[in-house]
């Protein structure tokens, strides 16, 4: 268990870059969630999202959110990422709550319910995404959820191009300044220049994408049935995750009904 953790601060950090996820060999319970099959995590997140749609009260969503939050310490997510994602996440809940409070018809209770429900739906998906290695995610989608190979591999390959595109965007922006183009304070110019840069980026990204597609074709992609170098394992923990998710949803509805707080959508 957590005895494997060393006391240093850096021990919490997961290795790798955006496209690879390296978990310490002796991560223990801290990294429990990263060991689950991404397909299972995705299914669980989906089940919660769909399961919470009918319930607009604060208690049902609140209980789910509370339980999901309890799993965060076992997600292996480091402090930097948590802070990076936590801000926008809370902002999303807060703004949704505020809008509902100001313009909604259910008053404060309804507003809190809307915010909590939104966060309870969003958090599992976010956790599934950041605790999964993209390659394993695509393996899980293809081998476990029977998603077609082409889009799954295509998305994975395209993810690799995102840092490249960010670099190209920076270069294009510098190049506009070098040509003497600068928006200044004129909003019309700001918009016009932005679209000019966007077009230049589009041209570059189409070229980059074509090159990548050609390289994939040159390696016989899409010429016949593929085999898989990696097996996407489905373990007992994955089944348990789905069972637990179902139990959580049923429990949340039962508790809310018991307390008499349950409010269903369109009721």
């Amino acid at each position: 268990m957590s005895t494997a953790r060393s006391g240093t601060r850096t021990a919490e950090t997961m290795g790798g870059d955006t496209l690879t996820l390296d978990v310490p060999a002796e991560g223990g319970a801290r990294y429990w969630m990263t060991g689950l099959n991404p397909a299972a995590k995705l299914l669980a997140a989906l089940a919660i999202a769909i399961g919470l749609i009918p319930a607009v009260d604060a208690v049902t969503g609140g209980l789910v959110l509370f339980v999901v939050l309890l799993t965060v310490p076992f997600s292996g997510v480091d402090r930097r990422t948590l802070m990076l994602l936590g801000g926008p996440f809370l902002l999303m809940g807060l703004s949704s709550g505020t809008v509902n409070y100001l313009y909604g018809e259910q008053g404060l209770e309804g507003a809190v319910g809307a915010a909590v429900r939104l966060l309870a739906i969003a958090l599992p998906g976010l956790l599934a995404a950041i605790t999964s290695d993209p390659t394993e995610m695509s393996d899980g989608l293809v081998q476990r959820l029977k998603v077609p190979e082409r889009p799954a591999m295509g998305v994975l390959a395209a993810l690799r191009l995102i840092p490249l595109l960010a670099d190209q965007w920076r270069t294009i922006t510098l190049a506009r300044r070098a040509r003497g183009l600068e928006a200044g304070y004129n909003p019309f110019n700001v918009v016009r220049l932005f679209f000019g840069r966007l077009f230049a980026l589009l041209v570059r990204s189409i070229r980059t994408g074509t090159l990548l597609a050609t390289a994939m074709d040159a390696r016989a992609f899409g010429t016949g049935p593929r085999t898989h170098a990696r097996i996407s394992h489905w373990r007992r923990a994955d089944t348990l995750l789905l069972v637990g998710t179902g139990a959580l949803l049923i429990g949340a509805y039962a508790l809310s009904a018991r307390l008499g707080t349950l409010v269903l959508l369109f009721s």
Partner: protein
Amino acid sequence: MGARNVGGARVELSGWGWRHAGRDTHALRGVDLVVEPGERILLLGASGAGKSTLLHSLAGLTGPDSAISGEEEGLLRVDGEPAARGRGRVGLVAQDPETQLVMARAGDDVAFGLENLGIEREAIRSRVEGALADVGFPYGLRHSTGALSGGEKQRLVIAGALAMRPRLLLLDEPTANLDPAGAELVRSLLARLLAETEATLVLVEHRVAEVVDLVDRVVVVEPGGGVIADGAPAEIFAEHGRSLAAQGVWIPGNEPAPSLTAAPGGAPLIEAVDVTARTPFQVGVRVGPRRTVLEGVRVAPEAGTATALTGPNGAGKSTLLTLLAGLSGPYRGSVEPRGPLAEADRRPLVKWPARRLARHVGTVFQHAEDQFVTSTVLDELRFAPSRAGMGEVEIEAWVGELMERLRLTRLADVHPYTLSGGEKRRLSVATALSSGPSHAPDVLVLDEPTFGQDTRTWTELVELLGSLRSEGRAIVMATHDRLLLEHLVDSRIGVADGRATVSSKEDV
């Protein structure tokens, strides 16, 4: 292991031709060529001669359902059959490793082609390990492909091709996008592999001298035509060396000799004062914190002098260039104008309004397309002077002169994106020069200006830079080009490990 013991493919072309969709003329036409199993040929020709197209066709990548569409004629056979991908018979390695790696981890990437061929899982692992050992890949199977240097990435690309055990290996300028260290890494690997494999090899490479030892036959093709010379390297270079060089091909012993006047020298025009720069902010989870690429750098490019920044890729040459050009600001320190430049505006360059900056400091980017902002060559050149408020008559004269000088006159109405590589480079230089109201900018900053150019564009470019230098302008460029360093550069600044070390030509 790897590519051994599968033999070589026989390649046969007869009356073969290719016309790209939407073009009036053929890229190649009437090509008659037989490559026997195990032969290693170097494919030469002026830029635009359709060499890459021929490689793509041999790899089965051209045709009705492919990314590269067009009209094919004549006969093309690999081992007696039409070229088709998916049989794992042909391996292709192109220029840029960045766009050839598919997967996020090294082992997975090498396995990608094997999965596509339907190889059993048990066999994949040993073939992946074998291919990685063959290319001398120094990291483990799970190493992130994003964390590799350019040369290491290209080694991985080659491993991915070798793992498929091709009988025909096609290499399209495999070292063109690499810095000298990375290029050497790949060349030494190729030399070792070719000594072991029996695969047939077709290699396209502009810098002939560096690969001539790897091949036993040279085939020269002509733009829009077929094979114009075919034979042993020594024979071909003795017989056709001069005419090939005149067409723009880099031939050993026939390197261009630009005529240049001596550098007049002068006082510094810009000065980087204790500049520290960090990597840009990265988007995404698990990205590392920002890293310092330059620390306490002090350089001062002088008027009438050509200054070169050299060093490995990723060392911060391009970052230093954008700082010197006033396009972005340093994390600490500043880039100040000096001498006549300080009379225009005393503030650090990054504070200058873009128009003023463009008038005094011209920048040429590595990818010429990044700096095009209009839809015709003529508009592109008129853009800066008309914004500077120059009169119609003056603009006509100045733009006409620029186009004449850089051989762009007949392309005046063409869209910049549709130009060839050499034409794009000439136009990007012309736009940087066009910015001055009555003269070219005082400082010209260029990122790898000669990259991928044939000898003709190379010579024109070097002579043009030479004449700007003799007019007293400061030329600053990042480059790996040995010849450029030899002919034009007066002062070298080595950029490595966050430091910039100045050395004059005598020390070089």
